[in-house]
C-alpha cells in the first residue's frame, strides 16, 4: 500500500532489442508515475553545485528539508526528543517533583538546566525539531496538493506499450470489434466508479483517488492540530480555588488561590460567571482490601452566567466538569474545615470561622493553622494575636490508640487536636504566608502548670479553655470544602476537528488502494480482435489481480472468447512467460 514502486522494470528479454525495451520501460514508468504525489526520488546527496551562490544553497536546503528522508529523520528525532521529558520531572507538569529531583541529583542540575531538561516540551531544541518538521510538512504538502489537483483535472495516463509486463495481466481473442470492446470497457469501468477515458486503441482508467486525498487531508490536519495546540498553550488560563460549603466563587483574577496562564493571555479574557458550593458528597469503599478508596465525589453547585445571570443548579463530578461561558470548572479535591469559635478573656467571641485543613493522606488526616489576627486583648488589655496548630482526623482510632492518624476518610469519629500560641503571627510583614502553617518565630506557646506545651483533643461541641483565663476555643462542628480548577483553553474545538480529520484521512490513505487499469483492443493479423487488460497498483496486492479478473470476466461476457485459430498466434501464448 505504501510503497513508491516504480513501474516494474522487466528483466532483460531476449526477444526484444534493447532499444525497444528501453522505450517500453519509459512508457511503463510514465504510466506508473503519479500513482502517488510522494516526492519521487530522494534529492541527490552532496551540496549544491559550485558557484550557485546563496540562492542555490537556499534551494538545496529547501529540497533537503522537504524530502521524505529528512521528514523521516525529523520524525525519528521527535520521538527520541520526547523521551527525556518522560524520565525527568517537568516544571509544567509538577514543579514539586522537579525540586525533589534536583535535590537528589545535584551533580546533574547545571547540565540539565543548560539543556532545558526540566522544560523539554518548550525547549529550544525540541521546538527546533517540530518547527523544522512542520516547515518540511508544509513544503511537502503544497506541491503535492498542486500535483494532485493536476492529476484530478487531467486524464489517467495512457496505456503502456507492453501491458503484459504489468503486475496483473490478461488477454483473450474475441469476435467483437475493437471499438465495441473499448466502449464496453469504458462503460464497465465507469460503472465501477473508475475514471475511464479512451485514448487511441485503449481505455485508461484509474480509481482510488481518495487515498491521496486522505493522505493530504491527514497531513494538513496535523498542521491544524499543531496550530490549535499552540494557540491553546498561548492563550490558556488555569487557576485553582478552594471553596467552602456554602461559599462561592466569581471568576476574577483576585479570587483565585493560584493562577497560571499562557504568555498571550490577558485577564480581560476571563469570562464573567460565578458559582456557590451548596453541598459536597463523598463515598468510599466501606470494607474489603480497598477500604477507604474513593468511589464517588459530587459537588452540588448553583452557578450563574455573566455578571448577573439567572442561577442554575448542577452537579460537578470528577469526570464531569461544569462548562460555563467557555470555561470549564473541574472538581479536583476536597477536605474538611473544622468550625471554631474563639473568645477573649472577657468572653466576647472574637473569631468564628470554618478553617480549611490540608489533607495529608488518603484517609484525610488533615493539618492546618487557625490564625486569629484581629480583636484579641489579653487579660491586661494588651493587643495580641492568637494562633493554633491544628491536626484533624475524620475517623479517630479511639482513646489510647492515641495517634492522630485517620482510619477512614468519612467523618465517623472526628477529632481535632490543637496547641495554642500567642504573640505576633507575622502576617503584617507583607511577606506572603502559608495559610496552613503557623509562623511561630514571634510567638510563645501556651504552657500547662508543669511547663509542658498546652494541647488538647476535641470532639465537636468540646470547648478548650486556655491557661490563665486567656480565653476559650470551641470546636463547633465540621464543614467541608472542595477545590476546583477553572480552566479555559481556546482552540480545543479546532484540535478536535483536526484530530478527527486526521483519523479519517489516515484511514482513507491506508485502506484505499489507488490503481490503474488499461484495456487495449486491436485487430489481430487474422482479423480477430485481441483484448488485453492490465492492472497496476502502488504495490503488489492480492486484490489487484482479483479485481482485474473480475473486470475481465465481466468484459468477457460481452466480448466472448473467440474459438482459437488453427495455428497459435504468437501474441496469445504468454504462458508462464515472465519476460
Amino acid at each position: 500500500m505504501s510503497t513508491t514502486d516504480k513501474a516494474p522494470t522487466a528483466a532483460p528479454d531476449p526477444a526484444h532489442d534493447s532499444a525497444a525495451s528501453a522505450a517500453a520501460d519509459a512508457t511503463d514508468a510514465a504510466a506508473a508515475a503519479q500513482l502517488s504525489t510522494a516526492p519521487l526520488e530522494d534529492p541527490p546527496a552532496g551540496g549544491p553545485a559550485v558557484g550557485m551562490g546563496v540562492l542555490g544553497w537556499i534551494r538545496w536546503f529547501w529540497r533537503q528539508l522537504t524530502s521524505m528522508r529528512v521528514a523521516l529523520i525529523l520524525l525519528f528525532l521527535l520521538s527520541l526528543g520526547s523521551i527525556p521529558g518522560s524520565l525527568i520531572p517537568q516544571n509544567r507538569v509538577d514543579p514539586m517533583k522537579v525540586e525533589i529531583w534536583k535535590g537528589k541529583h545535584e551533580f546533574w542540575v547545571p547540565a540539565a538546566e543548560k539543556l532545558q531538561l526540566f522544560d523539554v516540551y518548550s525547549s529550544v531544541w525540541f521546538s527546533a525539531i517540530y518547527i523544522l518538521l512542520f516547515i518540511s510538512l508544509i513544503g511537502c504538502i503544497v506541491p503535492r496538493t498542486w500535483q494532485f489537483v493536476g492529476q484530478l483535472r487531467g486524464r489517467p495516463p495512457g496505456a503502456p506499450r507492453r501491458l503484459d509486463r504489468l503486475p496483473a495481466y490478461t488477454t483473450w481473442r474475441t469476435e467483437s470489434a475493437p471499438d465495441e470492446v473499448l466502449s464496453y470497457a469504458k462503460e464497465l469501468l465507469r460503472s465501477r466508479r473508475f475514471r475511464a477515458d479512451a485514448a487511441g486503441n485503449a481505455v485508461a482508467a484509474e480509481k482510488g483517488y481518495l487515498r491521496e486525498a486522505g493522505n493530504l487531508a491527514f497531513h494538513i490536519a496535523l498542521i491544524v492540530l499543531l496550530v490549535a495546540f499552540a494557540t491553546g498553550q498561548l492563550f490558556k488560563s488555569e487557576g485553582g480555588k478552594l471553596v467552602l460549603r456554602g461559599k462561592g466563587f466569581s471568576n476574577t483574577l483576585t479570587q483565585y488561590d493560584d493562577f497560571k496562564s499562557g504568555s498571550l493571555f490577558s485577564s480581560d479574557d476571563l469570562p464573567p460567571f460565578s458559582f456557590t458550593l451548596d453541598q459536597f458528597d463523598a463515598e468510599y469503599e466501606k470494607s474489603g482490601p480497598t477500604k477507604g478508596t474513593p468511589r464517588e465525589f459530587k459537588a452540588y453547585v448553583t452557578y450563574s452566567k455573566g455578571a448577573h445571570g439567572t442561577p442554575a443548579k448542577t452537579e460537578i463530578e470528577v469526570n464531569k466538569p461544569l462548562d460555563v461561558e467557555g470555561s470549564k470548572v473541574y472538581l479536583l479535591g476536597h477536605g474538611f474545615a473544622p468550625v471554631l469559635s474563639v473568645t477573649d478573656p472577657s468572653g466576647k467571641v472574637i473569631f468564628k470561622d470554618a478553617v480549611p485543613m490540608l489533607p495529608q493522606d488518603a484517609n484525610l488526616t488533615s493539618a492546618g493553622a487557625v490564625k486569629v489576627t484581629d480583636g484579641y486583648q489579653d487579660k491586661n488589655g494588651k493587643k495580641e494575636q492568637l494562633g493554633f496548630n491544628a491536626r484533624f482526623v475524620p475517623t479517630f482510632a479511639g482513646k489510647g490508640q492515641g495517634t492522630m492518624v485517620s482510619q477512614f476518610p468519612s467523618p465517623d469519629f472526628p477529632v481535632l487536636a490543637l496547641n495554642a500560641w500567642h504573640g505576633s503571627l507575622g502576617v503584617d510583614s507583607g511577606l506572603p504566608q502559608n495559610v496552613y502553617q503557623l509562623d511561630t518565630a514571634k510567638m510563645r506557646q501556651f504552657k500547662k502548670e508543669n511547663g509542658d506545651p498546652f494541647s488538647q483533643l476535641l470532639v465537636p461541641g468540646d470547648t478548650m479553655t486556655l491557661p490563665d483565663g486567656a480565653g476559650t476555643v470551641k470546636f463547633e462542628g465540621i464543614e467541608r470544602w472542595a477545590t476546583f480548577q477553572i480552566s479555559q483553553q481556546p482552540g480545543t474545538g479546532a484540535a478536535l476537528g483536526g484530530a478527527v480529520t486526521a483519523i479519517l484521512g489516515l484511514a482513507a490513505s491506508l485502506f484505499i488502494q489507488r490503481r490503474r487499469v488499461w484495456v487495449r483492443a486491436v485487430t489481430g493479423e487474422d482479423g480477430v480482435t485481441v483484448v488485453e487488460m492490465a492492472g497496476l497498483g502502488r504495490s503488489e496486492s492480492a486484490k489487484l489481480p482479483e479485481e482485474l479478473a473480475d473486470l475481465a470476466a465481466k468484459l468477457n461476457q460481452r466480448a466472448p472468447t473467440a474459438p482459437a485459430p488453427a495455428t497459435h498466434p504468437v501474441e496469445a501464448t504468454v504462458e508462464g512467460e515472465r519476460g
Binding site: P8, R165, L548
Partner: protein, 359 residues
C-alpha cells in the same frame, strides 16, 4: 440484597481466577502440541528456498498461469497472470511448522484447538471478572494483562478463521500469552474492586479497550517482523551461496518467505495505526474531561505519542526508497518496544497521573 450481591460478586471474582488458571493450563498443553508440531515437521526435507534462490536464471513460473491456450473449441475464461515487483526475491512460502508431515499437521491442529479452548476459558475469566466488579474489566494492570492476551489469542484465531496463512505464528503466540498470564497472575494480581472516581467514564470503555486491541495486534505485527528479520537474513545467506546451520534451516525453511512476512507485518501495523491514533485522541478527550487539559505531557501521554510517532516513522520508511525492508523492520520493532515500555515501564516505574489502584 446488597449482601447477596456482594456474595455473588466474590464468587464471580473467584470463578474468574479459576478460569484464568484453567486457561493457562490449556495454553500450556497447546504449547506442547506446537512443540510436537515443530518437532515432527523437522523430519520433512524441504529446501525450496535454496532451490528457488540458486536454481539460476531458469526461474519458476509465475503464480498463476493461463493454462489452456486454446486449441479446443471450449471458450475459456481469461486468466490473470501476475508477476512480482522487481527487487523482491521470488521465493515460495514455507510449508508451515508441520513441514507437510501428517503427524506434525495433526499436532498443529490439536494445538490450535487447544488455543481456541484456552481463549474461551480466558474470555470467560475476563467476562466474569467484569461481572464481579460490574464495570469494564480494565481498572488495573492485572485486568489489562488478562484482556491483552485474550485479545491477542482472539485476533490470531480470527485471522485463522478468515483463512489467512498465520499458523506459523502459533508457537510464539502461545508462548507469549503464557508469559503474559504468568506475569499477570504472579506479579500484577489485584483483587477485584470498584473503580476510583477518576476512571469513571464511558471513555474508559472506548479508550482502554482500543488501547488493548492495538497492543495485542501490534504484538502480532511485531512477531511477524522479528520472524521476517530472521527469515530475511536466512534468505540472503542462501542467496550468497552460503549454507546455514541445520537447525536454522529446519526452522526458517518452514516459515513464509521474507517478503510474505514483511507484507504481513506491514498490513497488520498499517491496519491498527488509525486505531492507535484514535486511542490517543479518545484518551485526550477523556483527559480533557477528567483533568482539564487534553494534553499535559504526562509520562503515559508522552510514551503514547512516542509510540505513535515511531509507527508513523515506520510507515514513512516504507514509502522511502532506501528504507524499505530491514531498516523499516527495525523501526517497527522500536515502535513496539515503545508500546511495551509504555505499558509496563511507565505504569510501574514512572508515576504520572495514570497510576492505577495497586498497579
Amino acid at each position: 440484597m446488597t449482601l447477596l450481591a456482594a456474595a455473588t460478586n466474590t464468587s464471580l471474582a473467584h470463578a474468574s481466577n479459576v478460569l484464568i488458571y484453567s486457561s493457562m493450563a490449556v495454553y500450556m498443553l497447546a504449547f506442547f502440541a506446537h512443540i510436537a508440531e515443530w518437532t515432527f515437521g523437522s523430519r520433512s526435507k524441504v529446501a525450496r528456498t535454496a532451490n528457488a534462490l540458486t536454481a539460476g536464471a531458469a526461474k519458476a513460473p509465475a503464480v498463476q498461469v493461463r493454462s489452456k491456450a486454446g486449441g479446443t473449441a471450449v471458450m475459456d475464461k481469461p486468466q490473470v497472470v501476475t508477476r512480482s515487483a522487481t527487487g523482491t526475491r521470488d521465493v515460495p512460502d514455507g510449508p508451515g511448522a508441520a513441514g507437510g508431515t501428517a503427524k506434525g499437521d495433526l499436532y498443529g491442529r490439536i494445538a490450535i484447538s487447544l488455543t481456541a479452548l484456552g481463549f474461551l476459558l480466558a474470555l470467560g475469566g475476563v467476562v466474569s471478572r467484569a461481572l464481579s466488579v460490574q464495570r469494564a474489566p480494565w481498572g488495573n494492570m492485572y485486568e489489562f494483562s488478562i484482556t491483552f492476551s485474550t485479545v491477542a489469542a482472539g485476533a490470531y484465531l480470527l485471522l485463522l478463521a478468515l483463512g489467512k496463512n498465520v499458523r506459523w505464528i502459533g508457537l510464539i503466540l502461545v508462548t507469549t500469552v503464557l508469559l503474559d498470564l504468568g506475569v499477570a497472575t504472579t506479579w500484577l494480581y489485584t483483587d477485584s474492586a470498584a473503580l476510583v472516581p477518576a476512571l469513571h467514564s464511558y471513555w474508559l470503555w472506548i479508550h482502554v479497550s482500543t488501547a488493548i486491541i492495538c497492543g495485542a495486534v501490534f504484538y502480532i505485527g511485531a512477531a511477524g517482523t522479528v520472524l521476517y528479520l530472521f527469515r530475511d537474513s536466512y534468505e540472503s545467506h542462501l542467496a550468497e551461496g552460503r549454507k546455514p546451520g541445520v537447525f536454522r534451516t529446519s526452522v526458517l525453511e518452514r516459515l513464509p518467505s521474507a517478503s510474505s512476512l514483511d507484507k504481513f507485518s506491514y498490513r497488520i501495523n498499517a491496519a491498527v495505526f488509525p486505531l492507535w491514533t484514535f486511542t490517543i485522541i479518545a484518551g485526550a478527550i477523556w483527559a480533557n474531561d477528567a483533568w482539564g487539559r487534553y494534553w499535559g505531557w504526562d509520562p503515559k501521554e508522552v510514551w503514547s505519542f512516542i509510540t505513535w510517532v515511531a509507527y508513523a516513522c515506520y510507515l514513512h520508511a516504507r514509502a522511502t526508497a532506501g528504507w524499505k525492508g530491514r531498516k523499516a523492520a527495525y523501526l517497527a520493532l522500536f515502535a513496539f518496544a515503545c508500546w511495551i515500555w509504555n505499558y509496563y515501564g511507565v505504569n510501574i516505574l514512572l508515576n504520572g497521573k495514570h497510576s492505577y489502584g495497586g498497579v
